[in-house]
């Protein structure tokens, strides 16, 4: 279904939600793990432990984020790829040109690319693949960001010409999520036909998915022979698998309590990467008293985010003070805008006309860490006279009550994707932040001619929403990859759930 999401709790709905919170485009930084030096086993099997099992194998047909993790870049490739450090690189596109009006993109395809079935890649496959994402049956999260595609022409087998209805600086980035699929392929929900360094060996639902090196690969062959993704629903079972060498690496550790046993053991390496997942206390900015920025600022200043992060994630994760994580190009540290300061909070509350505080209901999803965070917030706000009533709801109820019907005062939610600050430019979004200037900046940013322009505009957006305390951005989650110390070359940041396995070396 939605390949871009990276929710921290199970459930399709959570997956769905997180996608919603998707923006477009991406950029990040950070290095590949370990060094590629030393000898390694070219025929190694790499066991990967994950909690994100694919629903099916089609990323436009409800496959979920698990399918992105296992197949993106490994089995399927795009015209462009998003590296683990957040850069967009050419992959199946050899080169491209953009018309002066920014509306027509002409792509030349790489030579000698073969699908796993043996068929050579041509422009019809690219057209088919893009249309598969934008088509009426598509459940892709990219669908909305690719609605700017007006038409696709294929003048020859190696050329694809895409015409947009309006300028979109994120278009190339968005293409990095479009898998190029053999237009003739069948049964994509249980089989595949991609161009990547691995082909699918076997998928056993509820258990594992294995990939083996594709001998006809056009690029550098994978540095291991086989990758097996093992799926777990229980964090303890996942960690036990790592402890007993049933898996070599865990893509995303969700339980900080389990880390101690790996940190103290030289056989393992605990990697602290950059996530893009933010925990939000989102206000309904349409309703009293949260329509007053003073009130929102007061609440933000009344909550000690540092203490909250420490209690939930120990030494991991970081404070950001706004919606933008350090891996987005328009990041800046805005934690100083609304500092933790209960005295300031009281003053702001008095100025807003609530010297004695007020009562509100906090809609809290029923899975971790939301209930813990809600209790913490309740106790913090009690100190400035605000009385919080915690209302625990299921992801389903959240979706209907909060997201669809906007029937709430304040809520907790995690927003998982990179570049999702642009949602503050949409006054119809569930939190109802409505600032004409911000909406205009967001629109202009997408129409930018250069990324510098885009970056400058989105920085302004970021600063403005922080000044307005549009939401309270409690903290940024860590991205923790735990691996056997025999392993190197694995991705650390897992941007948008992808997990490139072809550079992994096992000694």
């Amino acid at each position: 279904m939605k390949p871009l999401s990276k929710p921290l709790a199970g459930g399709a709905l959570v997956v769905a939600l997180s996608v919603a919170l998707t923006a477009c485009g991406g950029g990040t930084s950070s290095q590949k793990s370990g060094s590629a030096s030393g000898s390694f086993d070219k025929n190694a099997t790499i066991g990967v432990g994950s909690v994100y099992e694919p629903q099916n194998l089609d990323n436009t047909g409800g496959g979920g984020q698990g399918v992105t993790e296992a197949l993106n870049g490994n089995v399927y490739e795009g015209l462009f790829k998003l590296t683990d450090s957040g850069k967009v690189e050419k992959q199946l596109a050899q080169s491209y040109t953009v018309s002066p009006d920014g509306l027509t993109y002409t792509f030349k395809l790489r030579d000698g690319v073969k699908f796993h079935s043996g068929k050579a890649l041509d422009s019809a496959d690219v057209k088919y693949s893009i249309e598969k994402v934008t088509g009426p049956k598509s459940q892709s999260a990219r669908k909305s960001s690719l609605t700017v595609v007006k038409s696709i022409a294929t003048p020859d087998a190696h050329t694809v010409k895409v015409t947009l209805s309006s300028k979109s600086i994120s278009f190339i980035y968005n293409l990095s999520y479009v898998w190029i699929i053999n237009a003739q392929a069948k049964n994509l929900k249980t089989a595949e036909d991609g161009t990547g360094p691995y082909k699918l060996d076997k998928w056993t639902r509820g258990s594992a998915l294995s990939l083996t090196r594709f001998t006809g690969y056009w690029g550098t062959p994978a540095t291991n022979k086989e990758v097996v993704f093992h799926y777990f629903k229980d964090a303890t079972a996942l960690n036990n698998a790592l402890l007993t060498n049933a898996v070599d690496v865990v893509t995303s550790e969700q339980s900080p309590d389990a880390l101690a046993q790996f940190k103290s053991n030289p056989a393992y390496k605990v990697n602290n990467g950059n996530s893009t997942t933010k925990l939000l206390l989102a206000f309904n900015d349409r309703v009293k008293p949260f329509n007053d920025a003073k009130v929102r600022k007061a609440i933000t200043s009344a909550i000690d985010n540092k203490k909250l992060l420490e209690s939930i994630w120990g030494g991991y994760g970081k404070l950001i003070g706004s919606m933008v994580p350090p891996t987005d190009p328009w990041y800046e540290d805005l934690t100083h805008v609304n500092p933790y300061d209960p005295a300031l909070a009281k003053k702001e509350l008095a100025e807003a006309g609530y010297p004695k505080g007020f009562d509100f209901t906090l809609d809290t999803p029923n899975y971790d860490p939301h209930p813990t965070a809600a209790t913490f917030i309740k106790s913090q706000l009690a100190k400035v006279g605000i009385n919080v009533k915690i209302n625990v709801i299921t992801p389903d109820q959240w979706y209907t009550k909060v997201y669809q019907n906007h029937d709430f005062s304040a809520t907790l939610q995690e927003h998982v994707n990179d570049r999702d600050v642009v949602w503050y430019g949409n006054p119809d979004f569930y939190w109802g932040y409505d600032n004409k200037q911000v909406t205009q900046w967001v629109t202009q940013a997408e129409q930018s001619d250069t990324t510098a322009q885009q970056t400058a505009l989105l920085k302004k957006v970021n600063e403005r929403i922080a000044q307005d305390a549009a939401s309270d951005w409690l903290y940024l989650y860590p991205q923790i990859v735990v691996a056997s110390s025999k392993l190197s070359g694995y991705p650390l940041n897992g941007l948008n759930s992808q997990f490139y396995a072809y550079d992994i070396k096992k000694s």
């Binding site: 409800g62 909305s144 639902r205 258990s207 097996v228 229980d234 303890t236 079972a237 698998a241 209907t400």
Partner: protein, 321 residues
């Protein structure tokens, strides 16, 4: 006996129908809209309506029910809302894990419970008889996941002799691997299950030991062992077999927990995930198959009881599970 079997079969079918109605209605009464699982967030009302139409949740309830029954009659359990793949074949592959797990655990539990229960009753006044009763009492209070975690800690993490979880990707085509994977889960379930079985065996044995017929047999010169073999076993087995049916059924449900602890791709883990995802066809399919199994087990246990005890054959009440 034939009449009884037929009556019992009719009862089985009626129970199944009733169960399917209850199952169907309960799922529809859950809060939340399954169409949400199919659409991206931010879906328009039109897209949601299309999704509802696609899965048929916009139809009136009776119509949904009839079409479900119709599908069942043709052995079609429908397609999952979430994965869009057919439910039936997946249940079949999951049974390959849950089935052997349950059966092996059941047999092992019997192997443990019968002698232990017997000794606990026969030697009720010795110290080890008391210890056995006490341990079985304690075993009933112990949660399955806790036993599982202890076994993992000892046999996987410390001794490293058995896998901590998972199931070979090749399934039973790798029999040794499959058996190794199932060893700890089987022992876990068997231990917990035998705790309650021991108590049933013990009380059934106590009844037999205190019975007039056994005393008479002994008085007529039969040895203790001979009297037990000839008269005691049969009489003791009747109540135990009745309980076995129920125990086997509850083991299936216990599989949900054990499969999560051991990361096994069985029916239990399939069910728990489907519940989390509001995936009605999958929930319905799994529950339907397990309900069917439980009813059939009850039916067989009932028949077995009557085969063991001729006195029951003449009674045609047929209401006991």
């Amino acid at each position: 006996m034939t009449v009884y079997v037929l009556r019992r079969l009719a009862f089985l079918v009626a129970s199944l129908l009733l169960a399917s109605v209850v199952l169907f209605l309960l799922l529809r009464l859950l809060p939340g809209d399954p169409a949400n699982a199919l659409t991206s967030v931010g879906a328009t009302p039109e897209q949601l309506a299309a999704a509802r139409h696609q899965i048929g949740s916009d139809q009136p309830l009776p119509q949904q029910f009839v079409s479900w029954l119709h599908d069942l009659a043709t052995f079609d359990l429908g397609n999952s809302f979430v994965s869009t793949l057919p439910v039936g074949p997946e249940i079949a592959t999951r049974i390959e894990v849950t089935g052997p797990l349950t059966l092996m655990a059941f047999v092992l539990a019997l192997v443990i419970a019968v002698p232990v229960g017997f000794v606990a009753a026969h030697r009720a006044n010795t110290w080890y008889g008391l210890v056995l009763s006490g341990v079985s009492q304690l075993g009933i209070a112990v949660p399955v996941f806790w036993v599982g975690m202890i076994l993992i800690t000892v046999f996987s993490l410390h001794l490293g002799v058995l896998p901590a979880g998972g199931f070979p990707q090749d399934g039973w085509s790798d029999p040794a691997g499959a058996l190794r994977s199932l060893a700890l889960p089987v022992v876990t379930v068997a231990l917990v299950m035998s705790a309650s079985l021991i108590r049933y065996v013990r009380s059934a044995t106590l009844d037999v030991l205190g019975s007039d017929y056994l005393r008479t047999a002994r008085a007529l010169g039969s040895s203790f062992g001979g009297a037990i073999r000839r008269h005691g076993l049969r009489n003791g087995a009747v109540p135990v077999v009745a309980v076995l049916g129920i125990e086997l059924a509850s083991t299936l449900l216990g599989a949900v927990v054990v499969e999560t602890v051991f990361a096994l791709p069985g029916l239990g883990s399939m069910l728990s995930q489907a519940v989390a995802q509001h995936d009605y066809p999958t929930i319905q399919g799994v529950l339907f198959v397990t309900t069917l199994t439980v009813l059939v087990i009850g039916f067989l246990a009932d028949l077995a009881q009557r085969l063991i005890d001729p006195r029951l054959r003449s009674t045609l009440t047929g209401g006991k599970p």
